[in-house]
Symmetry: C2
Subunit: 151 residues, 2 copies
Amino acid sequence: MDACENHSHFGEGRVTARRRAIARAADAMPGAFTVDELSSAVRESAPGTGTATVYRAVAAMEAAGTLERVGARDGSALYVRCHADAHHHHLVCTGCGSVAHAECPLGEESVRALAGTGFTVTGHEITLYGLCPACATEHRTNPPTLATRKD
Amino acid sequence: MDACENHSHFGEGRVTARRRAIARAADAMPGAFTVDELSSAVRESAPGTGTATVYRAVAAMEAAGTLERVGARDGSALYVRCHADAHHHHLVCTGCGSVAHAECPLGEESVRALAGTGFTVTGHEITLYGLCPACATEHRTNPPTLATRKD
DNA sequence: ATGGTTGCAAATTGTTTGCACAGTA
DNA sequence: TACTGTGCAAACAATTTGCAACCAT
């Protein structure tokens, strides 16, 4: 329920009912999700939405920085809803698949240590895996089906 | 030319001429490569090698820890030849696609900083992007076609 | 001899695209 | 009105799989 119900999710693109439904479904996703999962979610509130449309919307949202691709599960790409602004990374719970944002764990010294390789590091990609507070307590009550695969 | 020309690359699996050719081609790859690229390379020394075989061999090598998947380029998975033993990460040159190994840049303090999220971090995945010494010098002589995409 | 490996072709499947139509700005 | 979004179906491409022959062990 951010005040950004208008233009934010898709950047330039137009705002249609479909897209609004897709944006809302993406916001409601508990953790990382595949396009197919998002499609299913969308169809609950907006039946008849075509898969291609969701793919196109996801592409638009990714371009707008509203969505970020975080690896893949099985054969399909995984996305997480996130804010474009700050530099951050993702913490994926291997128990339930929920995703949390994490500050960049790379300190200055860390980066400096890499200088020894001769490479000029221009960017990096980090995904952390672990157990969220809830899952850490239950500790293997539910089978870890989500977001465990890398890619 | 390691002394591990025998069982190492494929773990359990049997050692056949094809597999030996594939293993050698993988070792000869300069950086990250797709299965298709590896297939082409293999066919130069072992013509007639089927694509499916290469896919199967790659799967076996990945399982054996001989190969590691590092993201994807376009629609296909990228792999790098690497040693299973030590914990390390990859530095991908966005200029030429070559890959170097890098020590884990996550210091103790870095990890500790993440504790604030409540998550119990059990693992992580890091890929660094940058320019290798050669490309850093040339600096945009050749178009950056390789390994720039995440996934 | 036994069981994993290989090629080929067919089958899957995630994702993209063409096109005609609808809806937004 | 002009242009973008949408559905549907066809097109694509990477990867997988079935099967019969083959080859390490």
